[in-house]
């Protein structure tokens, strides 16, 4: 009897100790900002990434970002050059594999997804000012280790999940949902192979899976603060 009380006491102590060690949402986010060197990132005005997009084919890829929210993805499908972009006002895409190479303006949820995706600092930074809501949902075990699962309710009410590593406080996974042909599909992206670029960590491998498909963006080069004209992001007329 004494022995079982003793074991229970130790377990209680350990559990209490572990809970005491858990961080609040604000503490997690603070460490996330530090881990990502958000202070240094504020000095960065443009980011240019080049690499390969590996799906069935292996094709070139280029991502250009500019403050505050300009975004251009220049990629290839079936060796046809395509774009997804946001110029701060208009979200547009080209889909030449459909037989129509003309740019199309995105509407509705796709437009909003592109707009939020274009946030230079990411949605987790200054999330309150941006009108998003965050909630710590617990801890999940990923293949990269344990991660804080954080639910983000976007200003437009769309829900996304972020998984921040418990040890290094870098983003390891993102889970979003999109409606495609009337069905909601989950889109999972793993962020791997973090490397330092001018003091800022970047994931050089992004593995995305959805509806039984997978695509990897393998980043080869990242350049910061290369001058980029705003016209680059505008939809061609």
């Amino acid at each position: 009897m004494k022995k079982s009380i003793g074991v229970t006491g130790i377990l209680f102590f350990l559990t209490s100790f572990c809970l005491a060690q858990e961080l609040t949402l604000d503490e997690i986010m603070q460490r996330y900002y530090v881990a990502n060197n958000m202070e240094k990132l504020q000095e960065v005005n443009t980011i240019i990434m080049t690499g390969l997009r590996v799906q069935q084919d292996i094709m070139p890829l280029k991502i250009v970002r500019k403050r505050p929210d300009l975004y251009l993805l220049d990629f290839y499908v079936a060796d046809l050059n395509a774009f997804q972009a946001y110029d701060g006002e208009t979200a547009w895409v080209t889909s030449p594999w459909t037989g129509n190479a003309a740019p199309q303006v995105l509407q509705g949820s796709r437009e909003r997804d592109m707009k939020y995706q274009s946030d230079f600092d990411g949605m987790l930074y200054r999330w309150k000012e941006k009108g998003h809501l965050l909630k710590l949902e617990g801890i999940d075990t990923l293949d990269t280790g344990e991660a804080y699962k954080i639910r983000l309710i976007r200003a437009d009410s769309a829900i996304q999940y972020y998984f921040i590593d418990r040890k290094d406080f870098l983003l390891k996974k993102q889970l979003t949902y999109r409606t495609f042909r009337g069905e909601e599909i989950a889109i999972e992206t793993y962020f791997r192979n973090y490397r330092d670029v001018d003091g800022i960590p970047f994931a050089f491998l992004l593995e995305t899976s959805y509806a039984g498909r997978s695509v990897s963006n393998e980043i080869e080069t990242i350049e910061l603060n290369v001058p980029v004209e705003d016209d680059l992001f505008r939809m061609p007329q």
């Binding site: 390969l52 084919d57 292996i58 094709m59 070139p60 290839y76 079936a78 060796d79 046809l80 594999w97 037989g99």
Partner: protein, 414 residues
């Protein structure tokens, strides 16, 4: 108005009759320069090549930019380089000199641009004539000196060729006085043309299936020459003399993309294809009139990177797994796999050249059931996908990367 089964604008009629007669009496085996080398195997009979490369790769001799889009390989003659490229939906035939200097270009026909836009067909050169096709089905014979068109066909109109998913991609095969093409229509499945005049010599109905992007193989036997190629769901053996379908080997996979030229050696045909079909060894009867399946291995798949057989082993890339496989040619079993991502391969002077879709060119030493990476470098010059098969000629490695043709010196320094 073009007439069915008539060659297109026929400047050849203006040629002196003596020239036509002379050409018609040429020996059956002219020097043919074509897709993946003289015998379409990708085995280049070169010697004195570098057995390893510096970290940055072999020295770049020159680069020619301005080919336009394309996946075709160059063909190298004693004084010329011929290669195709697409600009604004038109395929051009380019002639360069051996130092990479531009000489001329001529339009050949409309190119496929719906997906993977660009020239597909590697020219075939026989003496002073050149044969080329385009993704939308132009078949043309041109003079190698000037690019002047002698005759042409439009396979869609003239031979009822149905459109396929990726455009016509055949490297035209020549045997003696004949040049062959594969429209893939039910009534005009394969066609043999007089290579000097464009006159139709025979039409084979084959199995009536659409073309499968394959550059055919010619097997020379004492009894007959056999044209071996794929249509949508079968390998066909066609008597090259009269178009008789001798045999076929049905595919049981879903796919209809069979780009790789089969390989013939010691009475056996080997082929590797993708989309659930895999690799196959067939025994060809002595007279070429029949086949027997020896083995089939669906795990060893390759869609368009070809393969090399050296002795008892086959070296190829797996399309699905993105690995390189070594396969026992006797049993069909895989003996090893190497991570180098998928791509194409050629061989010369004891080394395999693996060019993967990431643009990495690896120099591998084949050692029977295994192979070892010796050197590699990344091809950074050029545009778009790394699909074109490399070519080696006189100690120079030619890499086509989209808009650019690159020439590397791989001669061993003595």
């Amino acid at each position: 108005m073009k007439h069915l089964f008539s060659p297109r604008p026929s400047s050849f009629l203006l040629l002196p009759i003596t020239l036509v007669l002379l050409a018609a009496t040429l020996p059956a085996q002219d020097v043919v320069l074509q897709w993946r080398g003289a015998d379409r195997t990708g085995y280049y009979h070169e010697s004195g090549l570098l057995q390893s490369w510096p970290a940055e790769g072999p020295g770049l001799l020159w680069a020619f930019d301005g080919l336009g889009n394309g996946y075709s390989s160059p063909v190298i003659t004693s004084d010329r380089i011929f290669i195709t490229g697409e600009t604004d939906t038109v395929t051009y035939l380019f002639a360069l000199d051996r130092s990479g200097k531009y000489l001329w270009k001529v339009p050949v026909g409309k190119e496929w641009t719906i997906n993977y836009p660009g020239a597909r067909s590697t020219p075939t050169v026989v003496d002073d004539l050149l044969y080329v096709s385009t993704g939308l089905g132009t078949i043309a014979c041109l003079e190698a000196k000037t690019g002047t068109k002698k005759w042409s066909y439009e396979m869609q109109q003239d031979f009822h060729a149905p459109r396929n998913t990726f455009g016509f991609s055949e490297g035209l095969l020549v045997d003696g006085n004949l040049v062959f093409c594969t429209p893939g229509s039910p009534d005009t499945n394969l066609v043999a043309l007089d290579r000097f005049t464009g006159k139709i010599e025979w039409i084979s109905k084959g199995l009536g299936e659409h073309a499968a992007y394959c550059s055919p193989l010619l097997i020379r036997l004492p009894e007959r020459n056999i044209l071996v190629t794929f249509t949508a769901h079968a390998l066909l053996g066609i008597d090259a003399t009269d178009g008789t379908l001798l045999w076929s080997h049905k595919q049981d996979g879903e796919g209809d993309v069979h780009v790789n030229t089969p390989w013939f050696e010691d009475g056996y045909i080997y082929y590797i294809t993708g989309d659930g079909n895999g690799s196959v060894k067939l025994k060809l009867s002595a007279d070429g009139s029949g086949i027997t399946e020896v083995w089939r291995n669906k795990a060893c798949d390759n869609t368009m990177g070809a393969f090399i057989k050296l002795g008892d082993y086959i070296y190829t890339a797996s399309y699905e797994k993105r690995l390189w496989y070594i396969q026992d040619a006797t049993s069909g079993q895989l003996t090893d796999s190497i991570k180098f991502d998928k791509g194409n391969t050629i061989f010369a002077d004891g080394r395999l050249y693996l060019y993967n879709e990431r643009g990495l060119l690896g120099l591998f030493k084949p050692e029977g059931p295994k192979m070892e990476l010796v050197s590699s470098f990344k091809v950074t010059w050029g545009t778009k996908a790394h699909y074109a098969h490399p070519v080696i000629c006189d100690g120079i490695l030619y890499i086509r990367h989209g808009n650019s043709l690159l020439a590397y010196n791989i001669k061993e320094v003595r």
